[in-house]
Point group: C2
Chain length 466, copies 2
Amino acid sequence: MKPNFSLRLRIFNLNCWGIPYLSKHRGDRVKRLGDFLNMESFDLALLEEVWSEQDFQYLRQKLLPTYPAAHYFRSGVIGSGLCVFSKHPIQEFTQHVYTLNGYPYMIHHGDWFCGKAVGLLVLHLSGLVLNAYVTHLHAEYNRQKDIYLAHRVAQAWELAQFIQCVSLGLTGEVGWGHGLRGGQGPTSRWAQLVRRELLPHQPGSPSHTSKKADVVLLCGDLNLHPKDLGCRLLKEWTGLHDAYLETRDFKGSEEGCTMVPENCYVNQRELQPFPFGIRIDYVLYKAVSGFYISCKTLRTTTGRDPHSGTPLSDHEALMATLCVRHSPPQHTPSPTHGPAERSRLISVLKEAWAELDLGMAQARWWATFAGYVIGLGLLLLALLCALAAGGGVREVAIMLWTPSVGLLLGAGAVYLFHVQEAKGLSRARAELQHMLGRAREAHDLDPESQAALFLGQQEGDRSEEQ
Amino acid sequence: MKPNFSLRLRIFNLNCWGIPYLSKHRGDRVKRLGDFLNMESFDLALLEEVWSEQDFQYLRQKLLPTYPAAHYFRSGVIGSGLCVFSKHPIQEFTQHVYTLNGYPYMIHHGDWFCGKAVGLLVLHLSGLVLNAYVTHLHAEYNRQKDIYLAHRVAQAWELAQFIQCVSLGLTGEVGWGHGLRGGQGPTSRWAQLVRRELLPHQPGSPSHTSKKADVVLLCGDLNLHPKDLGCRLLKEWTGLHDAYLETRDFKGSEEGCTMVPENCYVNQRELQPFPFGIRIDYVLYKAVSGFYISCKTLRTTTGRDPHSGTPLSDHEALMATLCVRHSPPQHTPSPTHGPAERSRLISVLKEAWAELDLGMAQARWWATFAGYVIGLGLLLLALLCALAAGGGVREVAIMLWTPSVGLLLGAGAVYLFHVQEAKGLSRARAELQHMLGRAREAHDLDPESQAALFLGQQEGDRSEEQ
């Protein structure tokens, strides 16, 4: 690879709103999407909510000449809805299905049946290894009283961990280690400690133990507003940059929103508190040492299709042009990451821990409640059997069998589900707690951090008030 | 790190058979296990089937002075049963729960409720990064008619993929790339092609894009005999070595068996076809470029506890002493991996693909069958309602409501489950198919491979006949 190597990547992302029988004008929209993708010839098109595999197969056929590689990520009962079309060969793919994803008895919400996941593609582009992730997190149905908050935070954590493990290295150089990749030498005892611990056998090569992908790209519908806990956790932990915030050339909807009131498919009532709409779809990226990535342009549709016709979906499409340049490690432009950033990470880890803890308490409450209902159901069934045997109200007793057996089975299922939910939340909480402990230890060793921690907390409080 | 660096690792692995209320002498065995682990002071003790978190907490307290670090992997309804005790600090941990893990209606087998998983610990030992995995795959209840075979193969594949993704690199250098890490230069067009594709920007550093862990260790109860498809798939794909086959100093049960007829807790009838017992628990390892690992000694218990008392479990414990040495990449001793090895990999991938395909057909058959039962149940319910309204056999009709509603709900659950199962198998099959395609492409480019493929197939046929 030449030192002045430069690669331009054109990326397309859209939540396609492709629910069979329910989404309006689905066939027409899928057709127009295919035409548009063929015309634009992106490097990579990442799609969410392609719930019907027929739609994927239709697109695959249609896009074959322009995008010879494609993959549909299968999971759960309905599927993950994720798929991808690529102009370049796909070297490998894999996926991770989120442990927690709503409740099976919330059938009208349906998320549980989807098996929401994160899909990963590995591409080799002019000698560069690109790990492209596509995901769709649990929907938010009620922002004021969000019963899925803990699940979404757990999903954001699992997503961040999956990206870290697979692309960025699981060996300590995570989140609060940003500074190590920059040009600054170790300026504190903490940094020296971490550097010694992380890079033991090749001190001159900062990425030695963690290098996997050269560039990491994450696209998808996170169902998280930019300042939501899950979004902050994901960004702080992985160090991914937000294309909308980074680019100097943005054209599209106000404030980069990806669900806007101008879109005729959007439920206007739900968007009432947000006059410009909401930003919940993202293009996030990061280059690992040795490379530099920037977002040259970012475009969104604005409630219509790119040719001002009916929109392609109820979400807006994101179209980003990324530029990857080769850059020797010592010259990698990297913002200074000091104790303030570390304390912001600690604060977001703490916040996530607290949210999962709350979720765990609720899961345990439901399991206990279901346990009592099981006891009650058993009592009721015994009583009905006695009544049926004794005569008198025999017919009524027999009629009540069905609901009481149903109650018993239902409560049993609810019990098992919430026990499992509590285990899943407990697992994520334990991982967070471990990381928090390590981050704090490192932080405490650094005297500069003390003041910054205080400042970081103040900042955190302020953003909570907003 | 000094060039003559050498690290000795003492590893303990045991499936503890710790089912509350069901496993015999559980309390006493856990106590004796704790005493033994304290006395021996291993570097790492990896345990399976610690189903009760109380047992883990008891061991944690007891082992705290010798093993300051511990982790219990929570998942599913019951838990994964996996836990680990370490003399050295744990840097990070994470886990992956297998997508497919038996059937919820096979309550007497119970695997589905466990949420079987693979747990990962990252340790830093004298500047060496060790990724230690512990796992427990789905049990085999009937070797002649194994309804869980496809699930176990899918689990073995997911396990292999998880290890590859996290520790060994997901960027093409998998399985059939062994030879690249050895001292041989590219001897064929294929090897040159792969080398160029894999190591584009740093041709002098073979492990550049894949380096994560220096040493990978996998312990656990795989529920797979050494020649079983899942075991071959795992070994061929990850390149992990089997301590029992590698060590020159083995002492313990005949043929390294980990379930032996001498053990008083073992079901003798199940072991009847195997006079020496079966080998289903493993210590597998691998060093990544720059390091060399060997198994100095391997010991197993022999149906009694290490002091010849009652056994610690129905499985035998494995105790390995591993030695890791520093070794520059160009001197890494690596067996020659030629076309024969590649064609063996292709053959095992094909075999696994076929097994998953068979599993998928069965899952779809069950989903279709459940669909018919749902239709039948609905008809029955309508008929019963009509009879109840019409009088005559009213009481009987009402009495039959409960079973028919139960039938309907049950069939609905079975339907959803098998649709999800088919999706999970289809996902693994797609991954295998992709890898098979790439392996074949690479293989076809290499003229040496043609004869070897033929030989490999013959070998495969022979092992099938056995």
